[in-house]
């Protein structure tokens, strides 16, 4: 059951990431907006990250006939996804991510030494969680200011991805429970929610305009 849901999650993440990434790229080519360029990198990274994990599962099942994938490949996929989440958060300008005081900066490095023995996958997941929460809060704040339904869908989508990540941590405490499956279902809902604004935009007139060449 978990493996089946994991496959659906990674496939949806791959498809949604690539579609939004392609749409952002078309927007960047047609308008030259740096914000759209950052969104292009963000969503291509998210799509590729999910795609790597999905293809690792497929190859393992078809070629090696095992259910467990290599932890290194899993960490690579999650790391690339985190780069995507970073670019979404970066587009909102990360104002207070790093403390200004030297003392807090030095203390802030300490957990890295304590955590170094932990699985790198969980460290990456924790970064993703922070970035997703940041992106979600910023997007919901702009929904409150502008009342755009699309912004609410994106804010809720990022929030659901963060919440799914949080529930997945809890499943480490209760490994045999249904929590991990619930976390995957929440993440799938988050990805579908991210896709809502893009699905409403008419795709008829999209084209590449090389304005510099005119």
């Amino acid at each position: 059951m978990e493996l089946f849901l994991e496959g659906i999650l990674n496939l949806i993440g791959f498809v949604v990431g690539l579609i939004i990434g392609t749409f952002s790229y078309i927007g960047y080519k047609n308008t030259g907006s740096p914000v759209l360029f950052r969104l292009t990198i963000a969503f291509f990274a998210i799509g590729i990250g999910f795609g790597i994990i999905w293809s690792a599962y497929i190859i393992n099942e078809l070629v090696f006939d095992t259910e467990k994938i290599n932890r290194g490949i899993q960490a690579l996929g999650l790391g690339i996804q985190t780069i995507g989440y970073f670019f979404i958060a970066f587009s909102h300008t990360i104002k207070s991510f790093f403390p200004k005081s030297r003392y807090f900066r030095s203390v802030g490095i300490l957990p890295l030494f304590f955590l170094s023995a932990m699985n790198i996958e969980h460290i990456i997941r924790s970064f993703s969680f922070i970035l997703l929460v940041y992106g979600s809060i910023e997007t919901i704040v702009s929904y409150i200011e502008g009342r755009q339904k699309g912004a609410l869908a994106v804010g809720v989508g990022l929030g659901l991805l963060a919440f799914g990540e949080f529930i997945a941590w809890y499943s480490l405490v209760f490994p045999e429970s249904i929590l991990y499956s619930i976390s995957i279902v929440i993440k799938i809902s988050g990805l579908l929610s991210l896709f809502i604004p893009v699905s409403k935009i008419p795709l008829r007139k999209i084209k590449f305009d090389d304005l510099d060449g005119e």
């Binding site: 749409f23 952002s24 927007g27 047609n30 308008t31 030259g32 907006s33 914000v35 759209l36 969104l39 979404i88 587009s91 909102h92 910023e138 997007t139 919901i140 704040v141 702009s142 929904y143 502008g146 755009q148 699309g150 912004a151 869908a153 994106v154 804010g155 604004p197 893009v198 935009i201 008419p202 007139k205 305009d209 304005l211 510099d212 005119e214």
Partner: protein, 95 residues
Amino acid sequence: MVTYRTKIEIVGDILISAHEQTMEQDGASIMQLIRQANISHGRLSKILSDLVSQGLLEQVSSDRAYKYRISMVGKDFLSEYKKFNKFTSDFGLTI
């Protein structure tokens, strides 16, 4: 709170203004663009020469001064600008 417009937003405002004036009066004068796009004369002049050289606006001679009409390329750009402006605002961002 003061909100600053990005360059592409200023270009969008100029094109929207030129588009409206092209429909109503066969082009927008410098003064109309300054008022409607809320921009200084110096900055507008530089952006206008860029937009004309890229073919987004057409400069036409009027009685006493130049007027600016939106071109077909400009209309296409404006429609894309509006579409992707909505898209970025759905992500809580400005284009």
